[in-house]
């Protein structure tokens, strides 16, 4: 069995129709294996994080007790997107593994919520947030190289403290953008194949091959999101990461955590010497 299922179109062409639904289990097992391997590594092999230098006392003194990390708008986006994402995964995959219910309407409604929240996020991040803070920069790559070398026992100077987001966060964001946008863009077109009440049905919008590839891409993004969401939830509930999770609820990080893990030169917060008024989030 391949990763794609094929059919013969009315014109005699072999066209893809969707992914093999075995991939649901592949993604779930891959996600689970990652969690297990990471949990073992974190429990038995991980070393305590060490960073180069220290925050000067006069800078540290200006850091507020609660460091603002996520604005209310950013948090609302995150949780609305999370709810939509869970609804999409549940409605897409539970029926495939035997839990039968009328899922299509819930699925496309959740898809619209996700699409709207992503559009909001793009506009919000572009004009009201420090939009570059979530994308990897040169310092991230250098520090990741240092961390990797130290992890495998090679000599390397300690990495610098993180900017607002560690490289892992940035990489995760990049992958989720890729998977999420793939699912959303294909999903919007797939709505032309079902009765939604506000989009005209048009199964001839694309040719059979294009439609097939769209279904395959939608499916691949969907099963990819299974593993990605599993990993995300796992890190959100790991004890050492709970402070990050709480910041997504309450909006702030404790000063101690900020000083221990973040570099005020790379992530200036309000109240600190190097604060930039335009980078409030």
């Amino acid at each position: 069995m391949g990763i794609v299922e094929w059919a013969t179109s009315p014109w005699g062409q072999d066209v893809p129709i969707h992914i093999s639904f075995l991939l649901i289990w592949v993604a779930a097992i891959a996600g689970l294996l990652f969690l297990i391997v990471h949990a073992i590594w974190a429990r038995y092999f991980a070393r305590k994080e060490e960073f180069a230098g220290a925050t000067p006392p006069q800078v540290a003194a200006r850091i507020p007790a609660e460091v603002p990390r996520h604005s209310l708008a950013a948090r609302m986006f995150h949780w609305i997107m999370a709810a939509a994402m869970f609804a999409l995964l549940i409605t897409a995959f539970l029926p495939r593994i035997g839990v039968q219910f009328a899922w299509v309407t819930y699925h496309w409604i959740a898809g619209i919520v996700l699409t709207a929240s992503i559009l909001f996020h793009i506009v919000h991040a572009t004009f009201w947030m420090d939009r570059w803070s979530i994308w990897p920069d040169k310092a991230d790559i250098e520090d990741a190289t240092r961390r990797f070398k130290r992890a495998i026992g090679q000599a390397a100077p300690p990495p610098r403290r993180f900017a607002k987001y560690p490289l892992e966060n940035k990489m995760y964001h990049g992958v989720i953008v890729l998977a999420g946008l793939s699912a959303v863009l294909t999903g919007v077109f797939m709505m032309f194949r079902v009765r939604t009440g506000f989009l005209p049905r048009n199964p001839y919008l694309f040719g059979d091959m294009t439609w097939g590839l769209m279904y395959v891409l939608h499916g691949l993004a969907g099963v990819g999101l299974i593993a990605l969401i599993m990993v995300h939830v796992y890190f959100a509930i790991r004890p050492e990461k709970l402070v990050i999770t709480k910041s997504m609820i309450f909006g702030t990080l404790a000063r101690e955590h900020y000083l221990e893990h973040h570099d005020p030169q790379r992530w200036a917060v309000e109240g600190s010497q190097s604060a930039r008024a335009s980078s409030a989030d």
Binding site: I17, Q100, F101, A102, W103, T105, V194, R195, Y204, D208
Partner: protein, 337 residues
């Protein structure tokens, strides 16, 4: 595309003599097994090479699944009871004439002699794109060929379409729903009983099945309670060829009248959606109302609310509306509007 051949494809054939053996076989072979009752739906699929089970479990030797037995004022009908037996059974005819009428209108006498009640309610959709072997939604694909701008969809759904627009073609199904029947389903793990109206599922729930039966499940009996025994029944089937055809739309109702007032009523239609549709809203609306033209008209209008006809099946809307009117008021209410 389907290629009709005269010979059967190869498969392992089992002919169990009792239900336990049949369940054991169905359980052992899971999705690879095909449960065959009268074989009238089965042989098309197999000869056309569209369904290719590796195992066929022929149930025809299981005597315990046949016959009509009295049960608490009602009856229990074995799933393998032929439609002819259902039609001729005096108890069914006397108490549940609705089912007799419906069964008598299924196909032809020869087919009724071979076809079973269980098979009639469990048969697959008659959409010719699906039956033609096209990889549509119902066949695991990503399109409904019958719901495209150029599709021929005269027989298809006007209600409850969810990607697939095929309809359920059973004549006995709406009668059983109107009689508040229960379906007895067994598998290797045990037995469960579901209401007839819950036995049928639409494409929104599972686009590849018409009923709740899963691999390993077997419909063993149909129980009709005494609730509607001997009440006022109405069954009508509209079809292209009066001698032998599937329904374009059919309707079944069981009602109790108190003088001129509708005391209680159950109505179900088929041929308009992927599953037989119980018209609960109509039942509620007409209960307690006088059995007159105004009530019948209101019921007809209510029944077709939300109907979304396709290119060639718009006629089903007035057809269904008039059948609902007739089910309440009688044939004299027929009026094409």
């Amino acid at each position: 595309m389907a290629i009709i051949r005269d010979i059967m494809p190869a498969f392992e054939l089992y002919q169990p003599a009792n239900t336990d053996d049949a369940l054991s076989l169905l359980s052992r072979h899971g999705k690879e097994a095909w449960a065959m009752a009268g074989g009238l739906d089965t042989f098309d699929w197999l000869k056309d090479r569209i369904k290719r089970p590796s195992v066929v479990v022929d149930l025809s030797q299981i005597k315990e699944l046949t016959g009509v037995r009295p049960m608490g004022g009602g009856v229990e009908i074995g799933a393998l009871t032929t439609l002819t037996e259902v039609v001729r059974n005096p108890t069914v005819k006397e108490k549940f004439g609705l089912l007799s009428q419906a069964a008598e209108l299924v196909a032809s006498p020869q087919i009724r002699n071979q076809g079973t009640l269980g098979g009639n309610v469990s048969q697959d959709a008659r959409c010719w794109y699906y039956r033609g072997g096209w990889k549509c939604y119902r066949a695991g694909g990503n399109i409904c060929f019958a719901d495209t701008p150029t599709a021929i969809n005269r027989e298809h759904a006007i209600l409850g379409a969810d990607r697939c627009v095929a309809v359920n073609p059973s004549d006995t199904a709406p009668a059983l729903i109107a009689l508040d029947a229960q379906m007895v389903i067994r598998n290797a793990k045990g037995e469960r009983v579901v209401n007839a109206e819950d036995y049928f599922i639409g494409p929104g729930t599972d686009i590849m099945r018409m009923t709740v039966l899963r691999p390993g499940d077997l419909l063993t009996a149909i129980r009709i309670p005494a609730t509607w025994a001997g009440t006022h029944f109405y069954f009508e089937k509209i079809r292209d060829r009066q001698v032998w055809d599937f329904p374009l739309v059919n309707i079944a109702s069981a009602a109790v009248f108190n003088g001129d007032q509708i005391e209680r009523i159950r109505i179900a239609v088929n041929g308009v959606a992927a599953h037989p549709v119980r018209l609960k809203q109509v039942e509620d609306a007409v209960t307690g109302k006088p059995r007159n033209a105004a009530t019948a008209d209101m019921a007809g209008q209510l029944a077709v609310q939300g109907a979304e006809p396709l290119r060639y099946n718009g006629y089903k809307v007035p057809l269904m509306r008039n059948l609902v009117k007739r089910s309440i008021r009688g044939v004299e209410e027929a009026k094409w509007a």
